[in-house]
């Protein structure tokens, strides 16, 4: 009897394993955001067309920041390397943990003479509430809310639904794009990869 049923059972087990292997990995959600994060589900990994490549001059921009000041990319020219961290939106699952991770890695950015500029298409008040829930962040957070997604568009990371990609751009002190990672929007970029790219700027 067992012998007859074994193939069916084994096939079923294989199918279950295969289906599970195709499922997206759940990120270890922080209790900090329990009940406060909107479940966006599995999204199209990348939903934009690239406009920049490594070696291009990074488009300059000026955006309002949480501190109330306007921050321009150009103000870092000749002074510091810049990591532009575009994330799709406030109060969404992966984004709510990506920046808190950078929060405890300040020394890694300082050690590579780099600042982070966090950018989303959300409004300043929304970004304020969201980052407060994180306990605040040490880097500048900029709002690409109006004209909606203009900077995201210039960098080729504006998705068709008006949010931005989860994208990292490393811009060196000469204003040249040295690294681009338009990441699968459903996943968090590996911190080590970014740090290794920053280390290359020392060479």
């Amino acid at each position: 009897m067992w012998k007859r049923k074994a193939p069916t059972a084994l096939a079923f087990a294989f199918i279950v394993c295969s289906v599970l292997s195709l499922m997206p990995k759940a990120f270890a959600a922080s209790e900090q955001f329990e009940g406060r994060v909107y479940a966006v589900g599995q999204l199209k990994p990348i939903d934009s067309e690239p406009k920049l490549k490594v070696g291009d001059k990074a488009p300059d921009f000026s955006l309002p920041s949480l501190s109330g000041e306007t921050v321009s990319l150009g103000q870092f020219l000749g002074k510091q390397n810049v990591v532009l961290s575009f994330v799709p939106g406030a109060w969404t699952p992966v984004c709510s943990e990506q920046w808190p991770g950078y929060n405890i890695a300040k020394s890694l950015f300082d050690g590579n003479d780099a600042v982070i500029l966090g950018i989303t298409v959300d409004s300043v008040p929304t970004l304020f509430a969201w980052t407060q829930q994180m306990g605040g962040v040490w880097f500048a957070v900029l709002s690409d809310f109006w004209p909606h997604g203009e900077v995201s568009g210039k960098y080729g990371v504006l998705r068709s639904n008006g949010t931005s990609e989860r994208a990292l751009f490393v811009v060196d002190k000469l204003g040249i794009v040295r690294y681009i990672d338009v990441h699968d929007v459903n996943e968090r970029p590996n911190l080590e990869v970014l740090v290794r790219e920053l280390e290359k700027l020392k060479n």
Partner: protein
């Protein structure tokens, strides 16, 4: 087990077995072992394999040696406190000073340091990310990278931080005496709670 069944299998069954083995090798086998819920208080802690730490001082701390993997029952202690965290989790970051203080409190007590050991698992964190976390907070007990979420899956995909306290006892299975999401709060109160629960 698969190999044992091969002689009695027909060709079709053999093919399925091969598929299963290949599926097991290329797919995330840990997902197939995933738990639906965290280990409940009063239950037995699952038979999870942790990597033996590379650092000699961490091996010494846990009473382990060599390479490979170990299960919690191999730890030389009466009670094990396990934290599931992520370096990306702001709650874990906020809780880190309490966790560090708890460890220091245990290590400063000659009796407690022999009886209670702590370890932590960085859910979805690479070794680099775990190191970033332990360096940021000066953690001095073993923290393991769980890059592929396999341990996190086996512990019921808990939210972080999550604390599990396991009582080890002689020949019996490791028993879960505390299993909760959220912080430990004031370390001394947590230690008293653990002392009471572990008898």
């Amino acid at each position: 087990m698969i190999c044992e069944c091969i002689p009695v299998l027909k060709k079709s069954m053999l093919a399925i077995c091969v598929m299963l083995v290949v599926g097991g090798l290329v797919g995330p086998t840990s997902l197939c072992k995933a738990a639906d819920a965290p280990p409940p208080e009063g239950g037995v802690f699952p038979n999870i394999n942790f990597p033996v730490p590379e650092k000699p001082e961490e091996q010494q701390y846990l009473g382990l040696e060599g390479k490979g993997t170990f299960t919690v029952s191999k730890i030389q202690a009466k009670v094990v406190i396990l934290e599931i965290f992520s370096m990306y989790c702001p709650f874990c970051q906020k809780e880190a000073p309490n966790v560090k203080a708890l460890h220091r409190m245990i290590e400063q007590n000659e009796d407690l340091k022999k009886q209670i050991k702590m370890l932590a698992v960085g859910a979805g964190n690479s070794p680099f990310e775990v190191n970033t976390y332990t360096s940021a907070y000066g953690m001095a007990f073993p923290h393991f990278a769980d890059t592929d979420f396999s341990i996190h899956d086996a512990l019921g995909k808990v939210r972080t931080p999550y604390f599990i306290v396991i009582k080890l006892g002689g020949d019996g299975p490791p028993k879960v005496i505390y299993s909760k999401v959220g912080g430990i709060g004031e370390p001394r109160s947590f230690l008293e709670l653990i002392a009471k629960a572990s008898g």
